[in-house]
């Protein structure tokens, strides 16, 4: 939790409805206020509309706008919040390209309690 008792906020960007449901619930369990969108383009629109988030959980492969393109666009707009990539690609050139697009870190799917705990620790350390 942030200082002043405010909750951390998270944005889940994934084209899979089931994964959005699971990740939203998992983040909420750790005290995040979470929004979900189904692709990178919708994520960009939220930021353009003035929304801010403490962390973005970005899927790599999505239709319309994928993770690497969306991440590069967010960084180009000056978005400096934590962007965490999630992928089921394993270690390979696609993952390397995704990391190079501006991620803070990249994790193998599925997102789990251990990963969210790590994200929360990093955010707490950033706040303190």
């Amino acid at each position: 939790m942030k200082k002043g008792g405010q909750k951390f906020s998270a944005l889940v960007v994934d084209d899979n409805k089931m994964i959005r449901k699971v990740e939203e619930k998992l983040l909420a369990r750790f005290g995040f206020e979470t929004k979900v969108v189904e692709n990178g383009e919708k994520a960009l629109k939220l930021f353009d509309d003035g929304y801010t988030f403490d962390v973005v959980v970005m899927d790599m492969e999505m239709p319309v706008m994928n993770g690497p393109v969306a991440t590069r666009a967010l960084r180009a707009r000056g978005v400096d919040c934590m962007i965490v990539g999630v992928t089921s690609c394993g270690d390979g050139p696609e993952k390397a390209e995704f990391e190079a697009s501006g991620l803070n870190c990249c994790w193998e799917k599925p997102l789990n309690a251990e990963i969210v705990g790590t994200i929360l620790n990093k955010l707490d350390n950033k706040m303190s």
Binding site: N16, K17, M18, I19, K21, V22, K25, L26, R29, E61, S88, C89, K109, P110, N112, A113
Partner: protein, 214 residues
């Protein structure tokens, strides 16, 4: 559950009779109680054991892994059917992906890159609910796609479909059994309370007297 209340009320009734007549009544109801306890033990324990047994078997037989435990951990009073809802979403999405693979396999020349992409999506989804066994077949399928081995792809795809269908049946049965267990527990509590409320003094004494001693 309501049998317990009958036994309790019977016991209380027997104790209210003169001691001379109690023995005959006692042995009559001892045999009755034995039958009831046997019945209760079998009925009361059967449903909870079945749901637990099914769940444990899914893990011990390698169908599910720790990710499923994570889903169960997320289930709470606010979302009592969370796991089942997630599993339903998975099977809804995966049915579409499997159909896409089937259609792609029917078209020649085979598009191995497309097959690999679809299976990649399926594998990602299945890992999110902890389907351990089917993921191995998914990886194998992708290996065959990389070397453009269509026979290997088709053979492995059949295994993916079989594992997919098998786990779906097992999970459906498990969720149904779990719901039946919950409904049975609720019904027993309601039935017991209802039965207790209905008993009056006439019912208490009308079946008790077997061999009264004057």
């Amino acid at each position: 559950m309501h049998q317990f209340f009958h036994l309790y009320m019977t016991h209380a009734t027997i104790c209210s009779f003169p001691i001379e007549s109690r023995n005959t009544i006692f042995f009559f109801y001892l045999s009755l109680a034995s039958c009831c306890f046997f019945f209760i033990t079998m009925e009361g324990n059967q449903l909870p054991c079945q749901a637990s047994y099914m769940r444990n078997a899914l893990f011990s037989q390698g169908y599910l892994d720790d990710q499923f435990l994570q889903l169960e951990d997320l289930q709470d009073e606010a979302n009592p059917n969370f796991v089942e809802e997630v599993v339903k979403l998975f099977y809804s999405d995966s049915a579409r992906l499997i159909q896409n693979i089937e259609l792609t396999l029917e078209n020649t020349p085979w598009d191995f890159e497309k097959l690999d992409n679809i299976m990649h999506q399926y594998k990602g989804s299945s890992s999110s609910i902890g389907t351990k066994k089917v993921q191995k077949e998914c990886t194998q399928f992708q290996e065959y796609c990389k070397v453009e081995n269509i026979d290997g792809c088709m053979r492995t795809f059949q295994e993916v479909k079989q594992e997919h269908a098998s786990l779906k049946r097992k999970l459906e049965n498990y969720f149904q059994c779990d719901k039946n267990k919950a409904a049975s527990s609720s019904a027993d509590l309601l039935g017991a309370a209802s039965e207790y409320g209905k008993l009056d003094s006439t019912q208490l004494f009308s079946v008790v007297i077997v061999d009264p001693i004057d």
